[in-house]
């Protein structure tokens, strides 16, 4: 009984903690990591700093948003399946409610001239943000011929040849796999 209570309490705390994380980070993903670290490692002491590195490594090599991946993983480590369920629910809920509310507001006001002008300006700003983000990612790209070749191929396949994105993703994963096998063979 005692143990069941403490598990329930942990699950509830997980939910609240990840709700806070979801409600107070803008941009999601990596912006969440420092907050997760403070709440889960320093305050709650549920996991260690090493675990956080593990979480990032896993979140990066599995599909889906980093925020969801880390909430699910940490929730599971702390309190099993229901831990991961409530941690994930907690991190998603604030966005969900806020965006749902915004969807109503936008529909009411998007026909106003002022709103249209605002979005005209905003679209240019968003393009600037996207350009910066691509540049940052480009600088993190591994400095290898193979990586640059795939980057260029992926770009040309979609931007020029109009190939489906999904096809390009799958082909590049397979190419990476084959390349890594060839590199290993050569090393032997």
């Amino acid at each position: 009984m005692e143990e069941k209570n403490s598990r329930l309490k942990r699950i509830l705390t997980l939910f609240i903690t990840f709700f806070k994380i979801g409600a107070f980070t803008f941009g999601g993903g990596y912006a969440m990591i420092p907050l997760i670290q403070r709440e889960v490692v320093e305050n709650k002491k549920w996991i260690t700093d090493d675990d956080i590195l593990e979480v990032i490594a896993i979140a990066e090599s599995t599909p889906g948003p980093i925020a969801i991946n880390s909430a699910t993983f940490i929730g599971y480590k702390v309190a099993g399946f229901w831990g991961s369920f409530f941690a994930t629910l907690g991190v998603v809920l604030p966005s969900f409610v806020i965006i749902l509310a915004i969807s109503f507001v936008l529909r009411e006001f998007q026909h106003l001239k002022a709103v249209k002008y605002a979005f005209f300006g905003i679209r240019a700003g968003v393009l600037a943000l996207l350009l910066k983000s691509v540049w940052t990612m480009y600088k993190k790209c591994p400095k290898k011929v193979f990586a640059y070749a795939l980057l260029g191929l992926a770009f040309v396949s979609v931007a020029v040849l109009d190939l489906p994105v999904l096809l390009v993703i799958i082909c590049c994963a397979v190419a990476g796999l084959i390349n890594s096998i060839i590199v290993r063979r050569r090393a032997k």
Partner: protein, 203 residues
Amino acid sequence: MMQLILNLLSLFATFFKIGLFTFGGGYAMLPLMQEEVLGHGWATEEEIINFIAVSESTPGPFAINMATYIGAETIGNEFGVWGNVLGSFFATLGVVLPSFIIILIVARFYERFKNSKTVQGAMSGLKPAVIGLIAAAVLSVGQTVFFPQGVGLNVFSTLSFYISAALCLIMAVLAFKKVHPIIIICSSAAAGIALGYGLNLPV
């Protein structure tokens, strides 16, 4: 009723696919989402860009925000208030579920997953590919921003084109100086309103 169920299923399946095949954080989801949403006719490219701004200025992960919004918009336009709620629910569930299931599996076999040469090999191909894909998505965003009526030379005679170009340049400089995205979005909106009314731009 039948139509509503079919629409919700298609929304769920599409966002499940998006969640399953996106690797990496931030805008990694943009290329596939753009293709799918435009392909289904759920939103225009302009609406997607507008919504990137909303998503950046509200808390929460980009992917969840986009899924919730697109879900609300598509079903809500046809089925009203409850359409908004149902649509956003199914789209969000779809985009979250693949991660959730995969992480639950990985968490049990973590040691094997971590040392897996197969995973590492596939990731070595995926990482650079995602950068190329996002660059392609950004190129198409750029086309919509600068050539809203389709690519053509007549755009060079419009005032809107030069304002967009100047705004984008200024904002890019600010972005590289690490000014916060929310400040960039708010000042772009203010500039859009001021110049729009001041020069009486067409909308």
